[in-house]
């Protein structure tokens, strides 16, 4: 017997999207409507019909018929592709937005980390922001005072505590923001993809903190795309697909189910996929993974060259491509970012809207890998697709050396031994 922390019962959330496409019989109808519409909207607005006021008639169900219970002290990972309803679910649990049907009961104080640093004001000093942000996250002033030293020490910004945060490096900023949030002590913690912040050392520290939270017997609901991390932190996994619960089981079961559906998504035409994020002024329309050398065959081999091509459908200022390679169990292996330039990078005006990334030596061990691709530009995330492509790496040699067949690791490195002889 254990206590219940969250009880979600047939929860649904409907969004009203898009304008109404009306067809008019006569021009006068259209004219009349153009004149009347503002009054209709205004009257809807004043009567408090938000949706009707915006003339939104098309609806989608972001969540439909979701039911589950979380027992106190459990760490649950929520996974799913973009647009599966993960964030919507978290927003309902935190109270940011209301469900359309059903309910969620929450027992105890809820803290949420939906995005670190929201509510930080650039003109205020680090100390002031700790107080402000703490209050926004629901901490009492005395509580913040008590933890101030700890928060500052964790974020490693002691020296700059009285400097306005606009002068902080982005790393410091994020560290401080995370630190405030990490020192919340609610019974239930809802976390959305916040650990992808800061440098590696700090990420590790955050992970440690999250582990502590879980160890203390607090309930944690965790949304992330990082399967490795989820498997490390969670015992249970809920896999959402198109707004419904697809799998609810151990984290391994949920991750497996998720990876399977990801593979299925790949067979779909990239430009038709809707499970994407970003503003979409430039979108990824095609991906090609080939062997760079012998006539662009699609068989990749360890230690041989490889060529990744990403086609976008439009140009935006400052466009860049960022792709991530994950192994078969969803663990991120490595990433490539065209904005981090090297001396060998070139610009080719004849290339069209294509990013080409060439590797002389593919250092991945045999296995199956997937690529997540992000297109950025205009200082915005333009497009993000998980599993834009999947590729297999076959056995090969790295500089004449066979790759280790341990089946667990995924990277090989060229190296040289000196071996003792008699």
């Amino acid at each position: 017997m254990s206590d219940i922390a969250i009880n979600v019962d047939s929860l649904g959330k409907k969004f009203q999207i898009g304008g109404r496409q009306k067809s008019y019989y006569r021009l006068t109808d259209q004219l009349v409507d153009t004149i009347v519409a503002p009054f209709r909207r205004a009257s809807n607005l004043i009567r408090g019909h938000a949706g009707a006021a915006a003339d939104l008639h098309e609806t989608i169900w972001a969540l439909k018929n979701i039911s589950f219970q979380v027992k106190s002290g459990q760490v649950v990972g929520i996974i799913g592709r973009n647009g599966a309803g993960k964030s919507t679910l978290l927003k309902i649990l935190t109270g940011i937005s209301d469900p359309t049907e059903g309910y969620a009961d929450i027992y105890g104080r809820v803290g949420s980390l939906l995005e670190v640093g929201t509510g930080f004001h650039p003109e205020l000093t680090g100390r002031e922001n700790v107080y402000l942000n703490g209050a926004i996250l629901g901490m009492k002033k005395t509580e913040i005072e008590r933890k101030l030293d700890e928060i500052v020490a964790f974020a490693e910004v002691d020296k700059f505590l009285d400097t306005p945060v606009k002068h902080y490096s982005s790393g410091m900023y994020v560290r401080l923001a995370f630190s405030v949030a990490a020192h919340l002590e609610p019974e239930i913690l809802l976390v959305d993809e916040v650990l992808a912040v800061g440098d590696i050392a700090f990420q590790r520290k955050c992970l440690g903190k999250m582990d502590d939270v879980a160890q203390q017997g607090r309930t944690v609901v965790f949304v992330s795309h990082n399967m490795g991390l989820l498997q490390q932190l969670c015992e249970r996994g809920i896999f959402l697909q198109q707004g419904t619960v697809h799998t609810d089981g151990t984290i391994t079961e949920a991750v497996d189910a998720y990876l399977q559906t990801l593979e299925r998504a790949i067979s779909q035409d990239l430009s038709r996929r809707t499970d994407r994020k970003g503003v979409g002024h430039a979108r990824l329309v095609d991906t090609e993974v080939t062997n760079g050398s012998n006539g662009y065959s699609s068989v990749l081999k360890t230690g041989q060259s490889a060529r990744f091509v990403f086609c976008v459908d439009a140009f935006v200022p400052g466009i860049a491509c960022n792709f991530f390679i994950h192994d078969a169990v969803g663990q991120p292996v490595t990433s490539f970012y065209s904005r981090l330039q090297g001396p060998e990078d070139t610009y080719d005006p004849m290339n069209g809207l294509k990013f080409v990334c060439e590797l002389d030596e593919l250092l991945l061990l045999p296995g199956r890998y997937r690529i997540d691709v992000a297109i950025v530009g205009d200082n915005l995330l333009q497009d993000f697709i998980e599993a834009a492509a999947v590729f297999e790496v076959a056995e090969g040699q790295v500089r004449g050396r066979p790759s280790p067949p341990d089946g667990k690791s995924s990277v090989s490195m060229s190296h040289r031994w000196t071996i003792p002889t008699r």
């Binding site: 017997m1 254990s2 206590d3 219940i4 922390a5 969004f15 909207r41 607005l45 004043i46 408090g48 938000a50 949706g51 006021a53 915006a54 219970q69 027992k71 106190s72 927003k91 309902i92 649990l93 935190t94 109270g95 940011i96 937005s97 209301d98 469900p99 359309t100 049907e101 059903g102 309910y103 969620a104 009961d105 929450i106 027992y107 105890g108 104080r109 809820v110 949420s112 939906l114 995005e115 929201t118 509510g119 004001h121 003109e123 205020l124 002031e128 107080y131 402000l132 209050a135 926004i136 996250l137 629901g138 009492k140 002033k141 019974e187 249970r236 609810d248 089981g249 151990t250």
Partner: protein, 283 residues
């Protein structure tokens, strides 16, 4: 993972998230729990407001002061608008102090949710805290302008009358009116940014239907009482009566103003509550 029977904890408070239907009570208790946040928001607004300005907090004074100078020149000197027998600058500045508070509150509070959209979308806190804190932050500017008003009064050799004990009441009336209108406008602005464009126009029109440049004694009863339907008319005449002792004791007019202000405030709170569930989805 199949759960065995789970028990409902008895020691922890239950929060239910469900669709709110129709009109509901404003979440006042929650706002009270978050009162520190209210204070922090107001404090942030005050701290940040005049950063990166040359004049700094002087802006709180410049605004009403120069309006007073312009009014004195054009209405006082040129048009010879009556001023209840008082020096025109004192007459108009007394009205401009609460008026500036009101106008700024409207402009800033109506935009408060939109400016903090990111926070509203990502963090849960009582949404009421944003417009209310913004209005409260204006109290500091109000206090500064008020000190200047006392200075101007002394310069003209005017001493506040005993009626000054009523001043907190009129200040409260100004606050309630500002909050009421701000709640309406802030909630509407989330849905339609038209509000944002309406505000300058609205405040300007409201300025002229409020007895700032002219005295309400131009009207005779019962029209003066009807004038109280504009709660700012009650505030402004109240300020003049409390500080300068204008002999038009604003009895019935004030009562009408108080009634209207309370109606605005209560309806604003309910309207805000009704719209608030859609904020995160619409912003």
């Amino acid at each position: 993972m199949k759960e065995t029977t789970l028990t409902i904890p008895s020691d922890l408070p239950r929060t239910r998230r469900e669709a709110s239907k129709g009109w509901a009570w404003p979440k006042l208790r929650e706002l009270w729990e978050y009162r520190e946040l209210l204070f922090f928001f107001a404090w942030r607004d005050i701290k940040v407001r005049y950063r990166q300005t040359v004049m700094g907090a002087l802006w709180a004074i410049i605004q009403p002061f120069f309006t007073m100078v312009i009014f004195s020149l054009f209405f006082g000197r040129l048009a010879n608008v009556p001023s209840d027998g008082l020096p025109y600058p004192v007459f108009s500045f007394t009205a401009l102090v609460p008026w500036t508070f009101f106008a700024n509150a409207l402009a800033q509070a109506s935009n408060s949710l939109v400016i903090n959209a990111n926070m509203v979308k990502k963090i849960y806190f009582p949404r009421l805290a944003l417009p209310i804190a913004t209005v409260l932050a204006g109290v500091v500017d109000f206090a500064l302008a008020f000190l200047v008003l006392l200075g101007i009064m002394l310069y003209y050799g005017l001493v506040p009358t005993v009626n000054i004990i009523w001043l907190p009441f009129f200040t409260l009336l100004a606050l309630v009116t500002s909050l009421g209108v701000s709640l309406w406008l802030a909630a509407m602005n989330v849905q339609f940014r038209d509000v944002h464009y309406t505000i300058p126009f609205l405040t300007q029109a409201w300025l002229f239907v409020t007895p700032i440049a002219y005295p309400s004694s131009l009207l005779s009863e019962p029209w003066r009482t009807v004038y109280g339907l504009n709660p700012m008319a009650g505030v402004v005449e109240g300020f003049r009566w409390a500080l300068l002792g204008t002999d038009t004791a604003p009895g019935r007019m004030i009562m009408v103003s108080v009634l209207v202000a309370v109606i605005l405030f209560v309806s604003g709170a309910f309207y805000f509550r009704r719209m608030e569930q859609s904020f995160a989805d619409v912003l």
